[in-house]
């Protein structure tokens, strides 16, 4: 009895409910003199039945699936032998993982343990009970909904209004998902970050000058104790983003100006889609390009003129990131420049200024707020960009503004700290969430300012 079967059964039952409701409505109507005596068309009686059949059951189903494994895990843990239960939380997690692996028939780390086997059997038993119960529950709910509605269907039942009300609530539920996503992001990142700041004080994180997150995993291990001063990571991020913006802003802006002010229709129709292709290329492709083509070129050129360029230089990552952002800047600026009223241009041209003077002294100042907004959005994009820097920038957190050296960024650190196996409660993993929180907050502030500026600007000329 897998959840999939329950879902399919639910679908079938709702379809059946639709036909039953419609049939019932027709039958009722026949007694009172044909379908025209019904308040709504028979379809609505069917839809009403189907909705009441599907929606509550679906809600129950999703909540059940969300909490099923947590509840079962806790029940299994409470049944484990005392010696295992008294283990620290992280060891217990490992054991739970082993049990789950046993259940799904995977290879288990460590030796065969009868206690684990028993726990796995218990887990399986509980899970089959849970799935069975879910199935029965959904079935009962559906049948109850259909039978209740069968009795309720009368010619004066305002089925259409009921259906519309239900649809209205479903629409609201769908649109609030965005709020829940934001809340989910804030809560999950904040919760782990607070745990991190309990171990590493906030000021040490924000103002520390040394970043080396390698921690001794066992107490007796010799090794670095871990330092979580994020300043080098921030400077690295800023350096790479600055290089990217140094490429993207002039090139993007000039392309936008040329496309909207100078280019003829034909050239525009040819160049604009090509620029948009740049925006559609996945970032992992840019990362590959940066690591395998641009980095070696920069290193070799550096060697030719006697410069010592690291093979994972900030320059390579920044340049490629800049190329990635060009279409972003250019399409935003294009919109903004096109929104400047033609009258302003005509006025300047009629006073005898050349086209470039018109653009520089009239169009650009008028469009400046919008352009600034677009650039801010681009900066937030550069800061949050992950794959290019993961593949082309380094891991070592150097405090440097030299673009030829290796630097690391916030996103690189998040990826390296979280990819691979490690215990979930160590400051090392929690640090990733603290960095994530910072990233979220910074990009959020940039976005809010940018969106506000752009919106204000649009209103100005509308």
């Amino acid at each position: 009895m897998t959840p999939q079967t329950a879902l399919i059964a639910l679908l079938l039952l709702s379809t059946a409910g639709y036909y039953l409701g419609r049939k019932r409505a027709m039958a009722v109507a026949d007694k009172t003199g044909g379908p025209k005596t019904l308040h709504s068309r028979p379809v609505y009686y069917g839809t009403l039945t189907a909705l009441w059949c599907a929606v509550p059951a679906l809600i129950i189903f999703s909540f059940w699936m969300m909490f099923e494994s947590t509840v079962i895990s806790n029940m299994v843990i409470s049944k484990l032998p005392e010696s295992l239960q008294s283990l620290p939380a992280d060891r217990l997690n490992l054991i739970m993982n082993d049990i789950k692996n046993l259940v799904s028939g995977n290879i288990v780390s460590g030796e065969d343990n009868p206690a684990l086997q028993a726990a796995a059997d218990y887990y399986q038993y509980l899970r089959s009970i849970s799935h069975g119960a879910l199935f029965v529950l959904i079935l009962t709910l559906c049948i109850a909904a259909v039978s209740v509605l069968q009795n309720r269907i009368r010619p004066d039942l305002r089925a259409r209004n009921h259906v519309e009300k239900l649809i209205y609530y479903i629409l609201i539920a769908c649109s609030t998902l965005a709020i829940f996503t934001t809340i989910g992001i804030v809560l999950s990142v904040l919760y782990e970050s607070i745990r991190f700041f309990k171990i590493i004080p906030l000021h040490e994180f924000l103002f520390g000058f040394k970043w080396s997150p390698q921690m001794a995993i066992r107490a007796d291990q010799v090794g670095s104790s871990g330092a979580f001063g994020a300043i080098p990571v921030f400077t690295g991020t800023l350096l790479v983003s600055a290089i990217a913006m140094a490429v993207a802003v002039p090139v993007g802006l000039m392309s936008a100006i040329y496309l909207s002010e100078y280019a003829n229709r034909k050239f525009r129709a040819f160049a604009k889609p090509l620029l948009e292709i740049l925006a559609g290329i996945p970032t992992v492709v840019y990362g590959f390009f940066a690591a395998l083509v641009v980095s070696p070129i920069i290193r070799d050129t550096g060697a030719l003129i006697g410069l010592d360029v690291s093979s994972e230089s900030a320059l390579a990552a920044g340049l490629v990131m800049g190329v990635m952002i060009i279409p972003f800047v250019s399409s935003l600026s294009d919109d903004v420049i096109n929104a400047v009223p033609q009258g302003l241009r005509d006025g300047a041209l009629s006073l005898g200024s050349t086209q470039s003077e018109t653009i520089r002294y009239i169009v650009l100042p008028a469009a400046l707020p919008g352009i600034v907004g677009g650039v801010l959005l681009a900066v937030s994009r550069a800061i949050g960009e992950t794959m290019i820097v993961v593949m082309a920038a380094g891991l070592s957190a150097n405090m440097t503004l030299n673009p030829l050296k290796t630097v690391t960024t916030v996103t690189v650190q998040i990826v390296t700290l979280l990819v691979g196996d490690q215990e979930f409660d160590s400051p090392k993993t929690l640090a990733a969430f603290a960095l994530g929180l910072l990233l979220f907050v910074v990009t959020l502030i940039l976005n809010v300012i940018a969106l506000y500026v752009v919106r204000k600007y649009r209103e100005q000329y509308e």
Partner: protein, 429 residues
């Protein structure tokens, strides 16, 4: 600019000043214009460079070097009832040694064998299993060569390098030369690349597993994000009252569209994996995370499509007595649907190329098996590209470029579909 008129009026000064500056100003004008053109040319050159370098290093991956072996399917070794227990490796070895009777030394034999891929015996085993009637005959079969041989045949390795800098030594090189002279070694179309999952051996690695993973992940994303996105867009555009609550939703959606994708990965890790305990590395978890990520795109595109439907249509529907829901469902939504579909396809294309959030939820694991369902551990195409790009073998670089070409092909198809939809159904009111 008539000098004489100006002179006769006696106001020479301004005109002269203008005249004097004109040459300089025109020059600036020209320079400015050139700068704009250069900016576009620079971007297009970058695009060209990207494509040329990837296609240039990737097209060879669609061919694979194979070595032809004449294998005697010895009935005493192959029991048709128990083929899985048969020693296919031994068969491959003996037939390969037969090609080079002069190689007798143990060490040299080992070097000879290293020219063959470890997948050679699988190829033979597959062949025998599909043609059990051939047992007892001698068949000629192409088996994959090792990736170092492959690189050499394709010319990615310089044969004139000193022996110490090559992965293949002089003996192996001369053996390959002999094979080439006998025409026993040749390049074939690389079917493995499209039918196999990931592998540590470049010559046995393929993208089928990643493609299936991408398919399942995108299916989840589409099934979840399209209905929810359309519903949200319809609510915000057609039903929502102008109040605080609606404003909050709008601001939220606009912000989510600009949140770095890796943050969605953190959300997925903390909420879906650790709290709800969804299976790690599964396309289910990946699909849900990508849904949250693409929803804002779909909602924004959907709202734009709804906005472009003229109000007269709504008024006409309401005028003949339709309810608000009927008006939306029967009239506005069908007219806005092409625009919504275009937005959805673009959102899906973005989701297909997304890597960072999927790294967070463990889709970066080395997975050989081809996923068969939504909860199986799987990987997706961009993550596969990331994994291969990290591999040190030269042959994987070629595979990476080829995988990128396949990914780009998918993206081109999706985006062309979006453009086609827009062109075909675009209506100007």
């Amino acid at each position: 600019m008539n000098k004489e008129t100006n002179q006769s009026n006696g106001s020479v000064r301004t005109a002269d000043l203008v005249q004097k500056g004109l040459a300089r100003r025109y020059k600036t004008e020209k320079r400015f214009r050139m700068a704009g053109l250069c900016a576009i040319i620079f971007s297009l050159l970058c695009l060209a460079g990207l494509f040329v370098s990837i296609f240039g290093s990737g097209y060879t991956a669609f061919q694979q070097t194979a070595i032809e072996l004449d294998i005697f399917l010895d009935p005493s070794l192959l029991n048709p009832n128990n083929l899985s227990g048969a020693d296919f490796n031994g068969l491959v070895k003996t037939s390969f040694f037969k090609l080079f009777p002069e190689v007798t030394d143990r060490g040299e034999k080992k070097k000879l064998l290293s020219l063959l891929s470890s997948g050679a015996s699988y190829r033979l085993s597959d062949f025998v299993k599909t043609h059990p009637d051939k047992i007892g005959q001698t068949v000629s079969l192409f088996v994959p060569a090792d990736d170092d041989v492959d690189m050499l045949i394709k010319g990615h390795v310089n044969r004139n390098l000193p022996e110490t800098e090559r992965r293949l030594d002089n003996l192996q090189l001369s053996l390959i030369n002999t094979l080439e002279k006998q025409a026993k070694i040749k390049k074939q179309f690389n079917t493995t690349f499209f039918t196999a999952g990931d592998s540590r051996e470049p010559e046995l690695a393929g993208i089928r597993g990643a493609t299936c993973g991408s398919f399942y992940t995108l299916l989840i994303t589409l099934v979840l994000s399209f209905p929810i996105g359309v519903a949200a867009a319809v609510y915000l555009e057609e039903f929502a009252p102008k109040n605080r609550f609606t404003d909050v939703i709008e601001v939220n959606i606009n912000n989510l569209a600009a949140v770095p994708s890796i943050v969605f990965g953190l959300l997925g890790l903390a909420v879906f994996l650790n709290f709800f305990e969804l299976p790690r590395s599964s396309s289910l978890a990946g699909g849900i995370v990508l849904t949250l990520m693409t929803l804002p795109t779909i909602i924004i595109a959907g709202r734009a499509a709804l906005k472009s439907v003229p109000p007269s249509i709504r008024e006409a529907a309401l005028g003949v007595g339709a309810s608000k829901t009927q008006m939306v469902a029967h009239h506005v939504l069908p007219l806005a649907m092409p625009g919504m579909l275009t937005g959805t396809i673009i959102g899906m294309a973005r989701a297909l190329g997304e890597t960072a959030p999927l790294l967070m939820i463990g889709m970066v694991a080395f997975i050989v098996d081809i996923p068969a369902g939504f909860t199986d551990p799987s990987t997706v195409l961009p993550v596969q590209i990331f994994l291969w790009a990290d591999s040190p073998e030269r042959a994987f670089m070629e595979k990476t470029s080829a995988a990128i070409m396949v990914l780009l092909l998918f993206l081109v198809v999706m985006n062309s579909a979006a453009v086609f939809l827009r062109k075909k159904y675009e209506q100007r009111w």
